[in-house]
Symmetry: C2
Subunit: 430 residues, 2 copies
């Protein structure tokens, strides 16, 4: 039923394993110049539970930059067989180095991840993402082969050839970028095929953040089950956390990582189920362990047991970047929370704008929301009701009641390029 | 000294190994629908020496097409983990399937190949070719990792980033497409670096056919040693034959392949050292053995022992495609032979044209040759001398004395797209 029995390991035993591996990780990390200095005063015997990890300092992206290229390596360069690097076109790049053992661990985690959402040895997997320095390509590739699937390294682009390969080889699993999936579905129809008759059944769509709504749309348009995943190069790449067939959050593989969710301001753990910044520690990495890495990615642990029986905790889909956090009346708020609340309401249109303003001595949030034409009626009472409902739904999510202003379609100016969703006017006269 | 002791195996023992593996291959191949029928009457006990392989029928590209996709597979599809396919934009594509064992064999052969030209575990290898369905990318990648080199999957393009990676990570081995190498050397200089100060020492440049002259130019301009390799997807991909540090031909790994060189017209073996079509049999392939595959690639066995001590025979760089062969007065002639002879002469310019004409009852070859301006002098005697020398050099190579016509620079019309080097006028009135 599981790829690896560890997936359903008893929590107490799993946490013991984590502590054991954390101690090994501290000892190993100290062999690197960076952690040798930073962990000088740390005594591995002080670590009795996974929560003791808070005794260790954070590692940040800036640390990785300042240590570029070799400051975190625990072994001579000769022992490494793979390097992935960020493009570093702006500023110092970061690089991640892998020993053969690390590649094996990564392939195993990736194979487990794909198995967890229903992929099997008998599947045919077409990897439609680019290869190269991007960890998504080779990560999925090695995992698919490790699981024993027939793996087609199709790479990105060339829609016609992709379709032919899928049809010729009965491809049942696609690794496809979510933003490409809808375009691809359309191209398949244009080529004269019915998506319902395509041999695929599973799409792995983790490489870009996307909403639940986008996932459902992909599932509908492609007639496929789409599974979300989470990963980042600093933690190997994809295969850090993956959805099971329940599609209710991504199991984070806790035998390989210790995950924490913190308030990005205070560095303290948030309460169970609250949103915050994901902090990750590798406890199964050989050549380049990273301790308490501030991912800047926002998510929360999903409380409760998963129906699949796996005991590894689930994280929710990424709700944005910690750098996007707003603080209002002492409460941390993320734009993604507001977006998700708004987009769940059928009356809400395409666009919205969050304004933070100062009124007297207190800060306020105003949310301008475009309403679909069919709901933007002359009935003032209905509009006021809608306005109140939006404010209430937002308050349930962010614990603050914003002033909601309803707008007509297309009345909020659109930014060129990346959408501007938050304007902070608290420094201005209001 | 060798990656694998088999590289210097005693010839007699190597040939015994070949016969043993050929027998196994026949037995294995028969499990596939295609060879099950084609080899029905073959008795493995009839094979005593590698030369007995001539008792087996050829396999052609058309066979691979007609058997697409599964006709050559000896195992259930479940047992395969990789598929590479030709683009098949024109006509039926071909596909090659690999079991995990096949990928391991391929990675070992590739690692051996890279070791053979001087790559070591301590090297850092930047793979500058595209990945995906092209076997060159993943083939080199898996081999580099298998050898234990730190492998950077840079992929194609992005010259600036390539240069930064090479400098930041002390890249000593490049896998680079020959036609890109000269452009790249220029870009490195334009970026303000001296190629002599770059950390590289070895370029693997096998993915495209290229001349010895092009290799020497790459070596000079990049200040690097460039090594040629040979491979084709039907025989796994790269790693079929590779140059050793002697740079005198490519050792073809005879423990994994039985190679023959035939007259493409008659199918008979050519005399030792003569040019002809390379025919290849896999004797170490698990899931998709291919017997006596007509590669259409022209080369010859290089006679004699190699200074490196390896006993596996060497093939010469590919001299063109069998489909380009001309027959004149019963002699097989390949345009590449003429090109190489002409380009070795300092007086010869950029362009030439081969014309086949009928004169009375006999066929003749005319070769128009552009002469560099500084040699195109008024001294008729000097020009006649040059003309005779060209005819003599060509006769030494192709055994026929063509009529040589000297032309001024740019006087031979250039074709748009692929150069037209041969015009057959034997059907026309002359």
């Amino acid at each position: 039923m599981y790829y690896d029995p560890v997936e359903a390991m008893d929590r107490a035993a799993l946490e013991e394993l984590q502590v054991e591996r954390l101690k090994e990780t501290i000892a190993n990390a100290r062999k690197s110049p960076f952690y040798g200095a930073r962990l000088a005063g740390v005594n591995p015997e002080d670590f009795k539970t996974p929560a003791d990890i808070t005794k260790l300092p954070f590692t940040t992206k800036d640390d990785l930059r300042s240590q570029y290229p070799h400051g975190l390596l625990t072994r001579p360069l000769d022992d490494f067989v793979r390097l992935h690097a960020s493009s570093g076109t702006t500023g110092t790049p970061t690089a991640v180095f892998y020993t053969q053992k690390d590649l094996d661990t990564w392939a195993d985690l990736m194979a487990r991840s794909m198995h967890c959402c229903g992929c099997r040895k008998s599947d045919v997997c077409q990897n439609m993402s680019g290869y190269g320095l991007f960890t998504g390509g080779l990560g999925i590739h090695y995992g698919a082969e490790r699981l024993g699937m027939l793996t087609i390294p199709a790479g990105a682009g060339n829609t016609k050839r992709q379709i032919k390969l899928i049809r010729d080889h009965n491809v049942s699993v696609l690794h496809i970028i979510p933003s490409f999936a809808l375009y691809f579905a359309q191209k398949v129809e244009e080529a004269g095929y019915n998506v319902k008759e395509m041999p695929w059944r599973i799409a792995l769509i983790g490489a870009e953040p996307h909403t639940e709504e986008a996932r459902r749309k992909i599932e509908e348009m492609m007639h496929i089950k789409a599974y979300n995943s989470y990963g980042l190069s600093e933690m190997n790449g994809p295969g850090v956390a993956f959805e099971c067939v329940e599609q209710k959050g991504m199991h984070l593989w806790e035998d390989a990582y210790i995950a924490e969710i913190i308030n990005p301001d205070t560095g303290e753990h948030v309460a169970e189920g609250e949103i915050g910044e994901l902090v990750m520690t590798t406890i199964l990495r050989d050549g380049m362990p990273i301790i308490r890495y501030r991912t800047r990615d926002l998510t929360r642990f999903i409380p409760g047991q998963c129906g699949c029986g796996r005991t590894h905790r689930r994280i929710d889909r990424i709700a944005g970047r910690a750098d996007d956090m707003m603080i209002l009346k002492g409460v941390n708020i993320y734009p993604m929370q507001i977006e998700q609340t708004l987009m769940a309401m059928p009356e809400v249109g395409q666009n919205y704008l969050i304004e933070l303003v100062r009124e007297g001595v207190s800060d306020q949030m105003r949310v301008k929301v475009e309403i679909k034409d069919e709901f933007f009626v002359e009935d003032m009472r209905a509009l006021q009701g809608l306005q109140k409902q939006i404010a209430k739904n937002l308050c349930n999510e962010i614990l603050i009641t914003p002033r909601v202003e309803l707008c007509q379609s297309d009345s909020i100016p659109k930014a060129e390029g990346k959408a501007v969703r938050v304007v902070d006017r608290r420094g201005e006269e209001d």
